[in-house]
């Protein structure tokens, strides 16, 4: 199967799952945004998703996307390391035009995973998981209040901001790289995709960051809106 046993095929899997995850995080950021316009709307979205069959199917597809992306990420990175060989250069310089993110995609992805572990414990394990198990689940706003409230915010906020920053770097390269991998880039389109990647990564970062900061301020009683 060429999606597993050819290098370009493996990259196609990487780019398709990567773009799927980009779409997911974008939707996620937009749904959080609803909370800034009123927590009752946010609660409505939480209720709507819950543990319905469509939410469960969605969760499974999403989990598969992550698992495939992460498995391929390790597989490709290990292959690349052995292709590089055991001898390293004594002096090496990053050429102009080569982004730092492009050479550190695995590390950036791993930072995102660390953030995700905390995030899933704080939200998924308190909301969808108990609902699946038939136990009483936390309300959406209640979970937000716990994570960003006085007891936990000083852990939550820094870890989240670090995760968002890693995601910014990851998408700033991954987004255009995916289109290059899919064969949809040329001399005209490489700069366009690169520009789009910067915008996309920045917008997603700003949405998440503003939301996290707002929740922290709100649930510590610093602002009252």
């Amino acid at each position: 199967m060429w999606l597993t046993n050819s290098s370009v095929g493996r990259k196609i899997v990487m780019s398709v799952t990567g773009l799927f995850l980009v779409l997911f995080v974008t939707f996620h950021a937009l749904m959080n945004l609803v909370a800034l316009f009123g927590f009752k709307y946010y609660e409505a979205i939480c209720e709507f998703l819950g543990a319905n069959w469509y939410a469960l199917v969605g969760t499974l597809v999403l989990a598969a996307g992550f698992v495939i992306h992460i498995c391929y990420a390790f597989w490709l990175t290990l292959q690349n390391r052995s292709a590089r060989g055991d001898d390293r250069y004594a002096v090496s310089a990053r050429p102009k035009g080569v982004s730092w993110a492009s050479q550190n995609m695995l590390v950036l992805g791993l930072i995102v995973v660390c953030f995700m572990v905390l995030h899933l414990i704080q939200f998924w394990a308190n909301m969808q998981l108990p609902e699946i198990a038939g136990k009483t689940a936390m309300k959406g706003v209640q979970a937000l209040a716990t994570a960003f409230g006085p007891q936990w915010w000083y852990i939550t906020l820094p870890v989240y901001l670090l995760g968002f920053a890693a995601l910014w770097f990851h998408i700033s390269h991954g987004f255009w790289s995916a289109f290059q991998t899919l064969g949809t880039a040329g001399d005209k389109w490489i700069p366009r995709w690169k520009c789009a990647a910067m915008w996309w990564a920045t917008i997603v970062f700003l949405l998440f960051a503003v939301e996290a900061v707002y929740f922290t301020l709100h649930f510590n009683g610093i602002i009252n809106c």
Binding site: N80, A83, Y89
Partner: protein, 251 residues
């Protein structure tokens, strides 16, 4: 001398593929700045021979930037600090008086060291042999104007064809990927009608060979195109991906 400099060369010495290598530092005095870098190595070698030591082995042939034989990773860059130029087109004026210049062989699992700064780049030839050609029936050559080719395509194919197969792209790549080389070799035919009949077989065979020889997976860092002495463009890699996916989808 006003236009001459003295510098140190920190050079990788390795007696054979099996033996462990190490850096050795040599001093060169009063080298005129218009000396080419390879000539400076020649001067060093003459001094070594006079002293009864083993000269430094390095690859070179045409010394005018067309054969792809010279290599060397100089101060962190394949073909040295100049852009769009091979090591044989690099001059001593690029360096400062008193500088220590580090010279290493290409490093990639697919390019084992033969001796000192010489590596075996036969893997690139094997990829070429797998499909980097067009087959012609013998007979009289067709009239050149019988097949119309747009200027844009002709120029683009010519740019891709300027790849000299030096392997700097592999040397520069943190993934040890040969994608830029393969992309150039596939593109030079993919863009022309003469290359079309064998296009699918070619791209599949060349990529399969590249994978078999243990080159890495491209993560589009772009270090290859930034260091390529012939300025082969990164867009070739996207064309290679496109050719491969469309060939596979039609299997």
């Amino acid at each position: 001398m006003d236009n001459a400099i003295s510098f140190k060369l920190k050079i990788w010495r390795q007696a054979s593929p099996q033996e462990k290598g190490r850096f050795e530092t040599y001093e060169l005095r009063d080298i005129p700045t218009d000396t080419s870098f390879l000539e400076a190595l020649d001067i060093l070698n003459e001094q070594l021979i006079e002293k009864g030591e083993e000269p430094v082995a390095f690859d070179h042939d045409c010394r005018e930037g067309i054969c792809g034989m010279c290599s060397l990773y100089i101060n962190g860059h394949p073909h040295g600090p100049a852009t769009g130029a091979t090591t044989c087109q690099l001059y001593v004026r690029r360096f400062r008086d008193g500088e220590t210049i580090t010279v290493e062989p290409w490093r990639s699992a697919a390019f084992p060291v033969i001796k000192d700064l010489m590596v075996n780049r036969n893997a690139l030839d094997q990829i070429q042999q797998a499909g980097g050609y067009v087959s012609f029936n013998t007979g009289g050559a067709q009239d050149a104007n019988a097949i119309p080719i747009s200027k844009v395509d002709a120029d683009e194919a010519m740019d891709s064809a300027s790849c000299i197969g030096c392997g700097a792209c592999v040397a520069a790549c943190k993934n040890g990927s040969a994608m830029l080389f393969v992309a150039a070799k596939v593109s030079q035919f993919a863009l022309l009608p003469q290359g079309k009949p064998e296009a699918k077989r070619r791209v599949k065979a060349m990529l399969a060979k590249m994978d078999e020889l243990g080159f890495g997976n491209c993560t589009n860092t772009g270090a290859c195109a930034a260091e390529c002495p012939k300025n082969i463009k990164l867009s070739n890699i996207s064309r290679l991906n496109r050719e491969f996916v469309s060939a596979k989808c039609r299997d």
